[in-house]
Subunit: 159 residues, 2 copies
DNA sequence: GTACACTATATGCCATGGCAACTAACTTGA
DNA sequence: TCAAGTTAGTTGCCATGGCATATAGTGTAC
């Protein structure tokens, strides 16, 4: 049921299909773990991580990073703010936008969730992404592809 | 903005982030092309392709293949059926389920969309996924990861 | 300084997916 | 054969994202 020869040799479309299937299943599995232990899902975890590493980001910065619409990003920030993990601080140099930052609770949440996230990932793809040279090559290729897509602004939603 | 050293060396979490970003942007870009030229999005294209290769599949088969809920799959099939690309035929060996198949129009749509899809993909990742040994390794790793996740039924939604 | 274009965000409407009933049909065991 | 348990699918409710629009603030040309 899983794969057949024609899938394996389908070239770029086959690779894309494999990539999407991996992403879907990993995302779903991580959602389960994070929801169960911390009451958040993976997309929220990623928002919070980004804000931890880039405090003072604006909504547009998050939208560009994750390639989602600005509207959706604004709503996502609302939800995190309502739960007390994020604050919107006035932007002294542009009153149209706010600077987003983690609260103390948000910070602690990220620290705890990072552990869950890392251990879940290790379990999910630990023995497939080991130290082999194939693994290292895969990491390089995916990283390079990401850089290229971002550089060319591929796949940015309209709003 | 794109990447920094800490992202590149973050191990499994960094790889996961790159993977998700690639998938999001590729999916968005392919949506644009397919919608513009054929009035469908990538998820619909994938459903139709699967039905072309596996006529007589049931809703549950599609749900398992794409790791989406059975409810969502049923609605997705509705939409394709309403547009005249898919038919539900009675399953002679189990009256609870139907056998899904492409109509003539659906078949022609897939044939046309496959061309769009392949050329868009070639343009999007052609020079990153060339014939290099890194690329070949990446294809192998992602394919293996997919097989493992499917074998272990990782990330299947509840309903 | 003021009209005009532009930008950042927020909000509303719609489409889609998850999950939880619910229904119908199948299977099993006595 | 029929009751109890299981399975397949549909549907409703809710959450989230895309896109279009609205609003407010910024920059610029004159």
């Amino acid at each position: 049921m899983a794969t057949n020869l024609s899938d394996e040799t389908a070239g770029l479309p086959g690779f894309f299909a494999d990539l999407v299937r991996c992403e879907t299943r990993l995302y779903n599995a991580l959602n389960d773990r994070l929801r169960e232990r911390h009451g958040i899902v993976t997309s929220q975890f990623e928002f919070l991580c980004y804000l931890r590493d880039h405090p003072g980001s604006r909504v547009a910065d998050l939208a560009a990073e994750f390639a989602v619409g600005v509207g959706a990003t604004s709503k996502g920030a609302d939800r995190l703010e309502r739960r007390g993990w994020v604050v919107r601080q006035p932007n002294p140099s542009d009153r149209r936008s706010s600077l987003l930052a983690l609260t103390h609770d948000g910070s602690e949440l990220v620290d705890a969730a990072k552990k869950t996230f890392a251990s879940a990932l290790a379990e999910l793809l630990g023995d497939t992404l080991d130290g082999s040279s194939d693994s290292a090559a895969a990491v390089r290729v995916i990283s390079k592809l990401r850089s290229k897509l971002e550089r060319n602004q591929v796949g940015m939603p309209t709003g």
